[in-house]
Amino acid sequence: MLQNSKSTFGWVTIILHWLIAMSILGLLALGFVMRRLSLDPALQFSLYQWHKSFGFTVLALAALRAVWHVLDRQPQAPSGLSVLERRAARTTHAILIGLTIAVPLAGWAVASTSTLNIPSFYFDWFVISHLPMAKSEAAESFWTSTHAILAYATLALVALHAMAALYHHMVRRDEVLVRMLPTRLLRRGEVEKTKGSQVIAKRK
């Protein structure tokens, strides 16, 4: 149940998938809003700090997700997919996982190279050190661009990924989307529990 099975995803994959998905969509929106120059400067400062704390959270979750992706088995692709389609799916998933790590790393590089030298104080809880990088306006502006470009690339890929899932669900009517939803796992859990109690009842 925690792990993926031959046919579907387990709890670890499902929870990480949706936590990271919600977080990065929130971070993209936050990142877009906080760059608006017309913002109240005090509010803007706070938004940046929230963005950093949530960003570090995603980095940790994404690293876990990547390790899990490598270690755990992958459910089989639904039948009827061409080799090209399977390869495209695998590649997209690998790139997406890579981006969920690369984007926050690039963000960390922004905080680290910025001549503002603002500490990363994780949810006002503990300080996360800057990366050992030289601070300069050039480095900061390079990493700011990199962070933004990677973030927009992620958004584009997420859109593609979501459309592919909807295509599977509505056009091909296969399990690709459904098996990433927690609802079926919950239902299956109930079925198994019922089955289990039936077995116990029989033994009695």
């Binding site: 109240d40 400067p41 005090a42 400062f45 700090q49 001549t115 503002l116 030298n117 603002i118 500490p119 104080f121 006002d124 300080v127 050190s129």
Partner: protein, 200 residues
């Protein structure tokens, strides 16, 4: 309004953004300036330095200077406690070496220098705390809020025309509505100033 020079016995004075000093007669040699010379009214000169720092978590912090300020002080040779100081600084002259930090400090988040052009200090009491030190209390007004604050003053140097002090004070920024950035940045601003006065 130059104050009449006082007779110095074991005396003295001083003060700067205020201060006072007591030196025994032995401290004055023939060539040294007479302590009584320090009494008088002074204008704070541009050679003064108004330095500040705000610590940040993990070490370091924001350090800077205010480039534009003005003020006067009067050292009462007879009674140091009757000395006084008034000081004005212009937050838009803040310098930190990072223009974005300066813009932030001038913005509505901190000084709001467009609305509140000055930060002022007016002494209300001066107490001598040592041979060459004093504590100056007064009203600090920033961002439309006035509060009693205290600075410590140490006499560094003087002659018949000019005088120099080191003045330090730890000021909480939250009472002035400037607590943005806490707790990443300390609520306390450390002032470390070298105030030079020229006799009027």
């Amino acid at each position: 309004m130059i104050k009449q020079q006082s007779k110095a016995t074991p005396t003295a004075l001083a003060l700067g953004v205020v201060l006072a000093t007591t030196f025994g007669p032995s401290a004055t040699s023939a060539s040294a300036p007479q302590l009584s010379d320090a009494a008088g009214s002074y204008g704070i000169t541009g050679a003064s330095r108004v330095h500040f720092s705000v610590a940040q978590v993990g070490g370091g912090g924001i350090i800077g200077d205010f480039g534009k300020f003005s003020g006067n002080f009067r050292i009462d040779g007879n009674n140091i406690a009757r000395s006084s100081v008034e000081f004005t600084l212009y937050p838009e002259s803040v310098e930190t070496g990072e223009s974005r930090v300066e813009d932030f400090l001038k913005s509505s988040a901190v000084f709001d220098s467009a609305t509140y052009r000055t930060v002022t200090f007016r002494s209300t009491s001066v107490k001598q705390t040592g041979p060459d030190t004093a504590a100056v209390e007064g009203t600090l007004t920033a961002r439309g809020k006035a509060r009693k604050e205290r600075f410590s003053v140490k006499l560094m140097d003087w002659n018949s025309r000019s005088i120099s002090f080191i003045i330090r004070g730890s000021i909480f920024r939250s009472p002035y509505g400037m607590d943005v950035g806490t707790p990443i940045y300390s609520n306390v601003v450390e002032f470390d100033m070298n105030i030079k006065g020229q006799k009027h």
